[in-house]
């Protein structure tokens, strides 16, 4: 019989459904926004961490030019031609460095059997795969002799291989890069988008010597990738690299024509950006929740006013004022909670759709669920106080005034 009691106590909530929905709209929007944004923030954080892992905390990059990190990306502000292959050779002498690879990045049209596509060409040496921890799907790494000997060999990114060759075996085939024939020696395993927002599957790797001479005809590098023996040595190496390059380029620190980027920087900028964004969204959601609960207050006041006779009747039938107060508080909490529940379900639906779509890991932040539940109940209680107080002050004598 408890259901009957519940219905007699709270049945009024569902009497006017359209109004109920309108009154909880704000709560629905607030909660779903809060939930979605927190989930996104959480997923983004996990994704960044995963990306950083492929990047590695022991990696240090010397980027040519006045590069800046903006919104998590290393941007090259202007073309600088001062970073040379000799710089890389000089840095190799540092004892804390395990691997080092010069890098020249360009783009080229590649062709195989009439299929063309434009992709990123990275001139690197045999250490690059070890630095980036890329594994090979098939074939082999570039050989030291090939680097030294200006050989035209190429390792394909996974996507490039798929688009040019489909299921066909690529190893040993000859493709044309800007009309020069290159022999495929290997294919990378899928990597995905890395922390610098570049699709690592949409690139080809060729010897740095070949890239600088035959393909692009330049005498400078885009970057130098370093792998330090241990992450704790990164700050030390960073300082040493800085000193060596400043000395070699004969410039003072304020004219620095290169930039040192480590994984940590990227992580920091990314999380800073996302923290700012999510705290902004969170405050907006809470504001929305607040406005939503004001909406509940307004509707509750209207409802109390409209149900004065019902309240009078309940008093006449033996309800104490305290019970009326409680009834309307519970109603208000239930309404807010209902809004919160719908908001949560909508938000849940949204993340189920959008997280996989954006290739974010699917996470369910329990903390957010608990916090938003707590907030809606709290706001429901707050928004119910005044209407419930008004309800409890109603004089049952109004019942006898005819209509």
């Amino acid at each position: 019989m408890n259901i009957l009691i519940l219905k007699l106590l709270l049945g009024g909530i569902f009497h006017k459904k359209l109004r109920l929905i309108l009154s909880i709209l704000g709560i629905i929007i607030g909660v779903s926004a809060l939930f979605v944004m927190n989930t996104f923030g959480e997923a983004a954080k996990i994704k960044t961490l995963q990306e950083i892992e492929t990047f590695g905390p022991e990696i240090l990059i010397v980027v040519s030019g006045q590069a800046r990190v903006r919104a998590g990306r290393a941007l090259q502000a202007e073309q600088t031609t001062t970073l040379k292959l000799e710089d890389a050779q000089a840095l190799r002498k540092l004892s804390a460095i395990r691997f080092i690879s010069p890098l020249y990045t360009g783009s080229a049209i590649i062709r195989y059997h009439g299929r063309n596509l434009s992709t990123v060409v990275q001139g690197v040496n045999e250490d690059y795969l070890k630095i980036r921890k890329f594994s090979l799907y098939s074939g082999r790494n570039l050989l030291k002799e090939e680097i030294m000997g200006f050989k035209k060999v190429v390792i394909l990114g996974h996507k490039v291989k798929r688009e040019l060759f489909g299921d066909e075996v690529a190893d040993g085939k000859v493709i044309h890069v800007n009309k020069l024939p290159f022999t495929v020696v290997g294919v990378l395993s899928p990597v995905g988008v890395d922390a610098s927002n570049q699709d690592q599957d949409d690139q080809i790797l060729i010897p740095i010597s070949t890239a600088m001479s035959a393909l692009f005809n330049v005498d400078y590098l885009s970057a130098i990738y370093l792998s330090v023996a241990s992450p704790t040595l990164v700050p030390l190496v960073e300082k040493q690299v800085d000193e060596i390059l400043l000395r070699r380029h004969k410039i003072s620190p304020k004219d620095r024509d290169f930039n040192l980027i480590k994984a940590e920087d990227i992580l920091k900028f990314k999380t800073e950006a996302s923290t700012l964004f999510s705290s902004l969204v969170q405050s907006i959601s809470i504001l929305c929740l607040l406005v939503g609960s004001l909406g509940v207050t307004a509707i509750m006041l209207l409802s109390v006013n409209e149900r004065r006779k019902e309240i009078g009747l309940r008093l006449a039938l033996g309800a104490e004022k305290k019970m009326i107060l409680k009834q309307f508080l519970i109603e208000s909490v239930c309404i807010s909670f209902l809004g919160g529940l719908i908001g949560f379900l909508l938000g849940f639906l949204a993340i189920l759709i959008f997280l996989p779509l954006l290739k974010y890991p699917l996470v369910l932040p329990l903390k957010t669920i608990l916090v938003s539940t707590g907030l809606t109940v709290l706001f429901g209680l707050l928004s119910g106080i005044y209407p419930a107080y008004k309800a409890s002050k109603i004089d049952p004598a109004i019942l006898l005034k005819g209509l």
Binding site: M1, L4, L9, R314, L315, L317, K321, D395, G402
Partner: protein, 224 residues
């Protein structure tokens, strides 16, 4: 003496609205015996509703004594008054005042909500009451699906669910056509014959005639 249900002695009620005070009841004396059927008539503004509010413990007198079952009740605290209203007094109103979103049966059970619990027996009792009042087929109807006469009968069932000792009726036929009025009055008469004390306020002399006793309230006092 034991047969007296309630007594009013020199009862006064004054309302203060802004700076003006209205003296509505000016020394009402009334004795109602158990099993009586009393109709209170009188012109509008004569204090009938105010009197009914005080009798029903919905309002407190400004001065004077109100003895209910031999106990002075006008000085009781709200919680005790609510308990007496719940257990001893049944109300029926001109406008029925049924809860629109609840079924007939649920409306009848409403007073039990404030007694604390609703048992299976109670639901049965509500069904029996509705059946007795000719609404056996309408147990699950909403008020909007019932005619005025049927709604008032649901209200009567609600007033009876707690077996009250006093039934207060405020213009019970005021919103009804003559056929429904007759039906409702037949029911009240029957209930009175079974021993229920009824105090009814009405404008209609025809309806008042059905009561065993008629009193006229004019300018805040009973006149004979």
């Amino acid at each position: 003496m034991n047969n007296i249900l309630l007594q009013l002695q020199d009862l006064h009620k004054t309302f203060q609205i802004g700076k003006i005070s209205y003296h509505i009841l000016k020394g009402v004396n009334l004795t109602v015996e158990k099993g009586e059927f009393l109709a209170v008539m009188g012109p509008s503004g004569g204090g009938k509703s105010t009197l009914l509010n005080i009798l029903g413990l919905l309002d407190k007198p400004s001065a004077g004594l109100y003895l209910f079952e031999g106990k002075e009740v006008s000085s009781l605290i709200m919680r005790d008054l609510a308990k007496i209203r719940n257990e001893k007094i049944g109300f029926i109103f001109q406008a029925f005042h049924l809860i629109p979103w609840a079924t007939a049966e649920e409306n009848v059970l409403l007073p039990l909500l404030y007694r604390g619990k609703i048992e299976r027996d109670d639901v049965e009792r509500a069904k029996v009451l509705l059946e007795r009042l000719g609404l056996g087929k309408h147990v699950n109807f909403k008020p909007s699906e019932l005619s005025g006469g049927q709604q008032q009968r649901v209200a009567i069932a609600r007033a009876l669910i707690n077996n009250p000792t006093l039934l207060l009726a405020d213009e019970p036929t005021g919103n009804l056509d003559s056929q429904s009025s007759k039906e409702v009055m037949d029911i009240l008469e029957e209930l009175n014959k079974e021993g229920l004390t009824i105090i009814m306020v009405t404008h209609d002399p025809e309806i008042a005639k059905r009561a065993g006793k008629v009193k006229i309230l004019r300018d805040g006092v009973f006149v004979d």
